[in-house]
């Protein structure tokens, strides 16, 4: 069997790409849920100067082309970038062209999706319930965990599902910051692109089928979970 640049044969490299995509998507989704829920709470319940601007900044990745988002990420995280520079000087390590960069890219593009759904869910929690919780001696944090969070569950799960899906399918920004290094950063969408553009149809077909099945299975499970009310 032929080998690719990383020394893997076709089956192995397909499995690698699938595993990498799942790994990146899961890591990104975990981060998105944690950060997204927190941000949604702040946006839904607090008012402060610059709130509008924050909202726009967080939503931008939703409307910008992924390559533009990727470009901004390079500006920030590249070796000579705002943060990347400091990171490199401090640790001698750069995030560029690692799978962490793929996670970062997926995180940035999926975050607005999570925030949109979660914020709406939090805002739809009956105000009176929150007031009652306060009068019963529970402060803001306790009320968040005991009342707001449980009652926003559906929205949060929906956001997580959307984010996972988006992360799995991330291509443009990922390509720009993580690159297309076989055996290291070639997530499924990138691998499919590579195979298709080099005419390797059998490999591309196999990956597409795999990817579709795994995604469908995930959606099925997610639907089941959200119906049960968890």
């Amino acid at each position: 069997m032929e080998e690719d640049a990383s020394g893997r044969n076709m089956d192995e490299s397909v499995l690698f790409s699938l595993r990498l995509s799942l790994q990146v998507a899961i890591a990104a989704t975990v981060l998105v849920v944690l950060v997204g829920t927190g941000m949604s709470f702040i946006l839904a319940r607090k008012s402060f100067r610059g709130k509008e601007i924050l909202d726009i900044l967080l939503t931008l990745p939703l409307v910008l082309p992924p390559t533009v988002t990727g470009y901004y990420l390079i500006l920030f995280m590249g070796r000579n970038g705002l943060l990347g520079n400091a990171l490199f000087r401090w640790t001698g390590w750069s995030i560029m062209f690692t799978w962490y960069a793929a996670v970062l890219a997926s995180f940035i593009v999926a975050l607005p999706l999570m925030i949109k759904t979660t914020r709406a869910a939090i805002e739809s929690v009956d105000q009176n319930l929150i007031k009652v919780s306060y009068t019963l001696g529970h402060g803001e944090l306790k009320t968040f965990f005991k009342v707001i969070l449980p009652l926003s569950k559906k929205g949060i799960i929906a956001g997580a599902v959307l984010s996972f899906a988006r992360a799995m399918g991330e291509f443009g920004a990922t390509l720009m910051v993580a690159g297309n290094i076989p055996g290291k950063t070639n997530t499924m969408p990138i691998a499919i692109y590579t195979s298709a553009s080099s005419g390797d149809w059998s490999k591309a077909n196999m990956m597409v089928v795999f990817f579709t099945l795994v995604s469908a299975a995930f959606l099925y499970i997610a639907n089941k979970l959200s119906k049960k009310g968890f």
Partner: protein
Amino acid sequence: MIEIRVEKDLGNFSLNLSLSLQKGMTVLFGPSGSGKTLTLQTIAGLVEPDSGMVRVNGVVYFNKKEGVNLPIHRRRVGYVFQEPSLFPHMTVFKNIAYGISGLPLGERNQKVNHMIERMRLGGLEKRFPHQISGGQKQRTALARALAASPVLLLLDEPFASLDNPVRQKLRLDLLRIGREDRTPLIFVTHDVEEAFILADEVVVLNNGRVEQTGTKEDVFYRPQTHNVAKFLGARNIFHGKVTDIRPGEGEMTVWVEKKGFPSSIPYREGVVVGDWVRFCIRPEEIMILKADRPIKRNLKANIFSGRIVRIVEKGAEHTLFFKQSQDDYDFEISISNLAYRGLRIKEGQMVNVAFKWESIWVIPEGK
């Protein structure tokens, strides 16, 4: 002891009141939009006043000048909303236990079970809010607020959305709790009957201001302003010019311009001929004199002859509209069904009615 002095401006409405409330059940009474709910909210901390002070049992909850504004969750003020606002994702038991989650398990369960018994919720512990009736929901909401041993309990028209029999029962429950716990209660309502049943003291609000405070008898029989008389159902309020005063006998005569009749009413200190005064008489206090019975000579009353122009059946009572002038009607008279049947009155019939002296109340503010 609850002391409130608050001002709050909300654009087209402003609250400006000063109250000192004792233990027991205080009813905040007034028409919709008079600021009753807003007042409760400033006490609970749900709304921050623009200025003033709120002090409960010596503890300062709010003081604008000193920059004190105790957060809601530290005030220990229970609040029962008009909609039960039970946590939909918790059982009845868990809802009631919510305010005492800091207690050790055994003590907590004991308290909750005690509340369940007191509020007649036995058997419903494991049910969820959507599985119980409106009355049960409100009882749960009450139990939940009381379980946390608040220093003060605020209730915002909690029974408004319930059926009458359920309301009656819950009012009695509340009275019982008030007596047993000795937690001060502030109850908001716009229902006169409810105010009368529950109140130790009544505060009548109108347009963000206090019109009168006093016992229920005070506001009911001795309203200090025109508005209080109106809100409490004194449906016959007259505006008249004083034509004669007899201070020695405690009487004065007024001429009711709009209706075109004179009336003899209790004299009020300082009134002189030519002054305008307002007086009122409650519909159920007007006597209908039986046609066949002679009028007692020593009956100190104003007697009027006229026609009953309209009769409205109200279920447990009848309202009769009496007319002697050119106006639509002059007096509204309320009588029980029993009395109505005994009098055998029909629409269009001529009758004599009397204002008994003791039933007439001169409104101090009336100018």
